[in-house]
């Protein structure tokens, strides 16, 4: 009691105003006449928003948008490539070469019926004269009379991909029954297409890796840039006796918030873009623009896996930012301690 009074007297003696603190009377502490001094709810140790923090958030949003876009794009290409493969291998063709004395129409019918006896075939279509003429038009021009030319004719058989027929057996049977028939299961063609699709996916993956690497580096450097403006806070916390773990966890929390906001914005934007593109595509089905886009990109829908990837990207970015913040703060503290052990390095601290 005396201690306090002495201190107060010391202040009064030296000419200060008596500490009435009329602004906010505080009761509990002085005879019930005053109420507790109001303080604002304690703010976070790090300023919630500053220029560096906002810039970091924008950078993270942009990078996560790009990364998600690339990811969605690559998964789309992959889906398209695999659909190419499946569409091509969904059909086989039987080619019948013309020969003198061969009743072409009968041979075509026979070949079709033979093929359809196999389990795993679905449907057989004989390419009629008109269709064949159209097929040959680029080479032979219009007004073609097929009867006059020894043109091979085709039967298209749709097959059940999941349960393909016995191609070898079919080939043997056709050979025996219709010697002019030749079965083409497009294996060479499909092989080429598959390798092309694989190349496309590979290129997409490389781009994805590049974008992700760029994203990781950008996020790391942007985080460190944002932290450099906070070095004085690290120093003050250090000097008032904070343990490095405490300082690091404060910064981690702060940067986790920033990166979650940024990556959520970027990821959501990318998801929205895919969703609206697929919506546009389904609404404008069969219009020329849509058909072109579909031919080029396949359908815009990214599946559940794609959306999962977007979420995973966001998590990766959040983790990355948080860890970078932690390591950078720890290193700043190490540097402060390094100056301590090596006075020659007095950077950042005032010397006498």
């Amino acid at each position: 009691m005396n201690d306090l009074n002495r201190l107060k007297n010391a202040l009064k003696k030296s000419g200060s105003k008596p500490e009435k603190t009329s602004a906010t009377p505080s009761g509990s502490s002085s005879g019930g006449r005053r109420t507790e001094m109001r303080v604002r709810p304690t703010g976070p140790i790090l300023p919630p928003s500053n220029i560096q923090g906002n810039a970091l958030m924008v950078v993270i949003a942009i990078m996560s948008f790009l990364a998600c876009l690339t990811f969605g794009g690559v998964s789309m290409v992959r889906a398209t490539a695999s659909s190419w493969e499946s569409q091509i291998s969904r059909e086989i063709t039987i080619q019948i070469k013309p020969q003198d004395g061969l009743d072409m129409d009968a041979a075509l019918k026979k070949a079709r019926d033979l093929a359809l006896t196999f389990v795993g075939t679905k449907q057989g279509t004989i390419m009629d004269d008109a269709a064949t003429a159209r097929l040959l038009e680029p080479w032979l021009g219009t007004g073609l009379d097929l009867k006059e030319l020894p043109v091979p004719r085709l039967v298209i058989i749709t097959i059940d991909e999941a349960n393909p027929p016995d191609f070898a057996g079919m080939r043997d049977l056709l050979k025996a029954e219709v010697p002019q028939a030749f079965l083409d299961d497009h294996r060479t063609w499909v092989g080429r297409l598959v390798s092309m699709a694989h190349t496309t996916v590979l290129i997409g993956m490389s781009i994805l890796i590049l974008v992700f690497t760029a994203m990781i580096l950008t996020v790391i450097f942007a985080t460190r840039g944002a932290l450099s403006g906070n070095r004085h806070i690290v120093e003050v916390l250090h000097f008032v006796g904070a343990e490095s773990g405490f300082v690091a966890s404060e910064f981690q929390k702060h940067f986790l918030k920033i990166s979650l906001k940024g990556s959520a914005a970027g990821g959501a934007l990318a998801a929205l873009l895919f969703a609206s593109a697929s919506l546009w595509q389904s609404n404008s089905l069969a219009t020329p623009q849509s058909d072109q886009a579909t031919a080029l990109f396949g359908t815009f829908t990214i599946d559940f896996f794609g959306y999962l990837g977007i979420v995973a990207t966001m998590i990766v970015i959040a983790l990355l930012t948080t860890l970078t913040a932690r390591f950078t703060v720890m290193r700043t503290i190490d540097e402060i301690d390094l100056i301590r052990s090596d006075p020659g390095r007095s950077d950042g601290l005032p010397s006498s």
Binding site: A10, T21, V236, V240, G241, S351, S352
Partner: protein, 251 residues
């Protein structure tokens, strides 16, 4: 006394302080808080800034640290605050050899030392109250447990009406007092102040000096680095004078 009911909380602050550091009793009063022996320090390959410093800072002592600009006052304060390690010599603080203390334990020792920086080092985005409460906050204490203490201390230093103000709005003297309050908040055993009256007019300087004297009477050792002769003449205290890296002490 109208403030009779106000005292216990504040008094408790200092009672707690002596409970926390049981060494602070009459039996160990003569043991030095800080002991320097042949301490020398050089920056890089340069000349020695401090040479052969040998001195004690006893518990509950009050001293001025003075000397011309560039004599090494701030460097010596930094040694005292463990933000520098000497190039040679021995420093014992709180009966422990500083060179033997692992880095992870330094924050615990720093908590027993209060420091007022020449440039205050208040955080501009925190209010006066939050700045002063910072030492308790970084110790993981619950805000409700210290709110009254912080406000009480702010009133002591005459900032009772500036609790919710951000530092950029404070005057030089107010910042100085906020910095002092922050250094005192966790009841340190020793207070180091670097030019605490450098930015204030003489009446305010006198007021701050009285504050330091009062603190000292309450049991805190005080080291004030200053080159303000007028300030030193007001108190008959120990003077540590640094000249070209050497220290002379006038009791």
């Amino acid at each position: 006394m109208p403030s009779a009911r106000k005292d216990p909380s504040t008094l408790a602050v200092y009672e707690r302080s002596s409970h926390r550091h049981p060494n602070t009793n009459t039996l160990t009063l003569d043991v030095a808080l800080i002991h320097f022996e042949n301490v020398g320090l050089r920056y890089g390959m340069g000349p020695e800034i401090l040479r052969d410093l040998t001195f004690d800072i006893p518990r509950r002592s009050f001293q001025f640290l003075t000397g011309p600009s560039g004599a090494g006052k701030t460097t010596l304060l930094r040694l005292l605050f463990m933000s520098l390690q000497p190039t040679r010599g021995l420093i014992r603080m709180f009966d422990r050899d500083l060179s033997q203390i692992p880095r992870a334990e330094l924050p615990m020792l720093r908590r027993r030392v209060g420091i007022v920086f020449q440039d205050f080092r208040l955080l501009d985005h925190l209010t006066t109250y939050e700045n002063v409460a910072l030492p308790l906050r970084v110790r993981g204490k619950d805000e409700a447990s210290y709110r009254t203490d912080v406000i009480e201390l702010l009133k002591w230093v005459g900032l009772g009406e500036r609790i919710n103000v951000l530092p950029p709005v404070l005057s030089g003297g107010e910042k100085q007092r906020a910095a002092i309050a922050r250094a005192l908040m966790d009841r340190p055993e020793i207070l180091l102040a670097d030019e605490p009256t450098g930015n204030v007019d003489p009446p305010m300087a006198r007021r701050l000096l009285n504050l330091f004297l009062e603190l000292n009477r309450l049991g805190t050792a005080v080291v004030i680095a200053t080159h303000d002769l007028g300030l030193m003449d007001q108190v008959d205290a120990r003077r540590m004078i640094l000249t070209e890296g050497r220290l002379d002490i006038y009791e």
